[in-house]
């Protein structure tokens, strides 16, 4: 439906010149921001999803924050260091007060660790971040010692996801947060009003330790329809919108009263191939459409050929209207644990044909590419483009796009031979991508939870396990980079591009666009 709306918006905008009503005004007292997804609760430990976290992080701080490219910054913890492989010491910021006036101490951190994993009815809990910590103690009110069962260098990254509540709210229920009663954080904003599915209003917390933010009041409005969100910006009803649709970005850029901010996101769009089945992969057919016994996708040369056959620049230019960056690994190379050596595979259809011939498929074969049609930016169109490129080198590819609720259910049961999906690395490093996408699917080891191609390589598993238990940051970065290189060499997945997140705003408002797609009111600044 969104795509259709978009087309219409374009059709209409062709009829009507867009200019008049976006009035230049003196700086408003209230900043109105339209967000794309409704939130399910205000409880910071109820539903671990980006839209929820983006809102609740205005009220609740984290021990450790991240900057625009997800590098770690001090938050409520001023410093952190490993004392040994399994013990961490955090020094807490002094003089921080909760909105109710009580002082922030180590007890609040302990209370948070107690409550976060145990929220009843949570559809996506935070227990993943608290589970590795086996004990947590406070030698003094401003020091916290955390012990883990095994070496867990990702602890600081985990802490960027865990929002700190007051010990007074340790027994609060999700309803208490939704009603506003328990919305007592240390963050830059205090809750004024929450109307589910509609809006959230914040008032500035003048006592915030991070300094005074620009707007005394902030209103978040939930407008999920793309065209409606753009219209709300054009009509001046809102000052800022997130997720500017790719088709509208160019047009908004030329509007003299608007400005755009964009950043390479932490999301990569990639292809996963069935490398789990020895034979009879469900959607692989011979050239003349008969079931094929051998599974060509298990041959690394075939996977490499697929990668070479795809013209990433063309997809970025045409399908994504330049709102994407061609990808050669799990994350753009400004992020932690990436390799400077990995570049996007060059478009080389002749090379692809040669590799296919070497692998014993000079005449190619037939394949179905499964993709969601309402999950990622232009997902179905990207799949169509990929299919066209593959068909050109002899792999006759058909696209079967479906709503994401069907796609992910079937995909996770490994029902597909070849699929297109996206992966946002919320931790801001390559550890989660390597672990979940390319580690061997194994509930016992905790690897491969999103490995829908069932790729498996013992050598790579070992590299990943070593990397994610290496406490030394520099060494871990190098190990993760090496594992990324290995995964790409074996073409465990085929990366296509990194999505670019775009914010649109009135002239006079500035934003440092964030890779994690959070829309933080306290990071908007007047530019004049």
């Amino acid at each position: 439906m969104n795509r259709r709306h978009l087309l219409c918006a374009l059709a209409i905008s062709g009829l009507l010149p867009l200019s008049a009503p976006v009035l230049a005004q003196a700086q408003p007292q209230e900043l109105v921001i339209a967000i794309a997804a409704p939130i399910s609760a205000l409880d910071p430990h109820f539903h671990n999803l980006t839209p929820n976290n983006s809102i609740t992080k205005h009220v609740f701080d984290n021990l450790i924050r991240t900057d625009a490219t997800q590098q770690l910054l001090p938050g409520l913890a001023e410093s952190w260091k490993p004392l040994d492989n399994t013990t961490w010491e955090l020094k807490l910021r002094r003089g921080v007060k909760f909105h109710d006036g009580s002082a922030f101490t180590a007890d609040d951190v302990i209370a948070t660790f107690k409550r976060a994993p145990e929220v009843p009815n949570s559809p996506a809990s935070f227990s993943q971040f608290t589970r590795p910590v086996t004990s947590i103690t406070a030698p003094d009110p401003h020091t916290v010692i955390m012990k883990t069962a095994a070496p867990h260098p990702l602890l600081p990254r985990d802490l960027t996801s865990l929002q700190i509540i007051s010990k007074n709210q340790v027994a609060a229920r999700t309803d208490d947060f939704n009603s506003g009663k328990a919305m007592n954080g240390t963050g830059p904003y205090k809750l004024v009003e929450y109307k589910p599915g509609e809006r959230v209003i914040f008032a500035r917390n003048d006592a915030w330790w991070g300094g005074k933010t620009a707007w005394p009041r902030v209103q978040y409005r939930m407008i999920s329809n793309n065209a409606a969100r753009v219209a709300a910006l054009l009509s001046g009803d809102v000052h800022v919108i997130e997720n500017v649709p790719t088709a509208d970005a160019e047009r908004l850029k030329t509007n003299a009263q608007l400005a755009l901010a964009s950043a390479t996101s932490n999301r990569v769009i990639y292809l996963h191939m069935d490398t789990g089945r020895d034979k009879n992969s469900p959607f692989v057919r011979t050239r003349d459409g008969k079931p094929m016994e051998a599974n060509p996708l298990r041959d690394v040369r075939v996977r490499k050929a697929i990668s070479k056959a795809i013209h990433r620049d063309a997809i970025v230019e045409r399908v994504m209207e330049k709102q994407a960056i061609p990808a050669g690994q799990f994350l753009a190379d400004v992020f932690f644990g990436t390799s400077k050596r990995l570049k996007p595979e060059a478009f080389d259809p002749e090379g692809a044909k040669k590799l296919l011939a070497d692998a014993g498929y000079p005449n190619g074969f037939q394949l179905t590419l499964h993709a969601p049609n309402n999950r990622y930016v232009n997902d179905e169109k990207i799949a169509q483009a990929v299919a066209a490129f593959l068909t050109r080198v002899g792999i006759e590819t058909k696209v079967d796009a479906m709503p994401s609720n069907i796609f992910f259910s079937r995909g996770s049961k490994a029902e597909f031979s070849f699929l297109l999906a996206g992966w946002a690395s919320e931790s801001g490093d390559t550890s989660s991508s390597l672990r979940s996408l390319t580690g061997t699917f194994d509930p016992k080891q905790g690897l491969g939870a999103a490995n829908r191609g069932r790729f498996s390589d013992a050598g790579l598993d070992a590299m990943i396990t070593t990397a994610i238990t290496q406490v030394d940051d520099t060494k871990r970065g190098m190990l993760l980079a090496a594992a990324s290189e290995k995964a790409m060499e074996m073409q465990a997945i085929i990366p296509l591009h990194y999505e670019v997140s775009v914010w649109g705003m009135r002239k006079g408002i500035g934003y440092t666009a964030r890779a994690d797609q959070y829309t933080f009111a306290h990071e908007f600044k007047p530019t004049r």
């Binding site: 905008s13 399910s40 996506a124 009509s235």
Partner: protein
């Protein structure tokens, strides 16, 4: 009369049971709610926890049995996504949808019947033809396109009305109503017009057809021959006779406007039930979808009952 109502109630229960089973099976076949709920980065352990906590690890018939058991004691289950009783989540959004539907139907009836009457009485006039041509447009233009056009013209270009969202609410009869407030009414106007357009066209065409049919009938001729004033012939005799089909259609359309305002609600970011249920379907939030459809079915049955009772008021022969 009492027998009719009792029989209706029994039918209602049967329909509700069948609906719940259909939705249950339907959602079960679409996919796995766990996939839509958990964070994509979730590990195996977290996925398993959600599956067990929400009872999704059980076979479908066990899940359905549990649902029926709870439903009989008045509990339609907790929403997977919101972690609160599904019925609460829906009722919280209901006033927004009801007021939009009411406003839309008022617009459709107040404008539609007079225009239809006029077009029926002077079928060959230029104005009547204009009205009929307009009603064809109202029928055939897709709702989402008209919605965007309304936003582009009245909000973006002219700046008269707000583009999206619901205005401030006032509390009346225990409900939060926004259209009793000027600012709220301004917010509701565009979505209500958008929603009304199709119904308006329908009412115009239906009224016109009824008028055309009735003016030829003997009772009309007789009334005129008796020397009654035109005003009385049309306002009393004609209007009363064309009302029965109109009331049926208006009743049914009111139901559909409440239940299926989804497109309008999503374009105008109107925080009503339609938007909620679309999100719920997308996220496979089964308790919300089931509860919503049960409410909708009950609502349709109720409206039908009211329409039947209205017949009796309008037409003495039915009594």
């Amino acid at each position: 009369m009492l027998v009719t109502i009792l029989r209706r109630l029994a039918q209602t229960l049967l329909v509700l049971a069948v609906t719940s089973l259909l939705v249950f099976v339907g959602i079960f076949m679409v996919g796995d709610p766990v996939e839509m709920l958990v964070n994509p980065q979730a590990d195996h352990e977290e996925r398993e926890r959600v599956r067990v906590e929400f009872g999704l690890d059980q076979p479908m018939w066990v899940q359905y049995g549990r649902f029926i058991g709870n439903a009989l004691s008045g509990d339609l289950g907790n929403s997977f996504v919101y972690g609160r009783p599904a019925i609460d989540v829906i009722l919280e959004r209901m006033p927004a949808t009801l007021e939009l539907a009411a406003l839309a139907m008022i617009i459709a009836v107040v404008i539609g019947i007079p225009l239809g009457l006029y077009a029926g009485l002077k079928p060959d006039g230029r104005i009547a033809r204009g009205i009929m041509a307009g009603s064809i447009l109202g029928f055939s233009l897709p709702t989402f396109w008209v919605g965007l056009l309304l936003i582009m013209v009245f909000a973006v270009q002219l700046g008269w009305l707000p583009s999206t969202g619901r205005g401030p609410t006032v509390s009346a009869l225990g409900l939060n109503i926004s259209i009793l407030h000027w600012e709220g009414l301004k917010h509701a106007l565009l979505p209500a017009i958008n929603l009304a357009l199709f119904k308006l066209s329908l009412i115009i065409r239906l009224t016109r057809a009824q008028v055309r049919e009735n003016v030829m009938l003997d009772y009309m001729r007789f009334a005129r021959a008796k020397g009654l004033a035109t005003r009385r012939v049309i306002g009393v005799h004609l209007l009363k006779n064309i009302m029965i089909p109109l009331v049926t259609v208006i009743g049914l359309e009111l139901g559909s406007v409440i239940a299926f305002a989804i497109v309008t609600e999503s374009i105008f970011a109107w925080p009503g039930m339609g938007k909620l249920v679309i999100d719920a379907i997308f996220q496979l939030d089964r308790p919300v979808v089931v509860a919503y459809l049960l409410i909708t079915v009950a609502l349709f049955i109720l409206i039908n009952l009211v329409v039947d009772l209205l017949y009796a008021v309008l037409d003495p022969r039915v009594r």
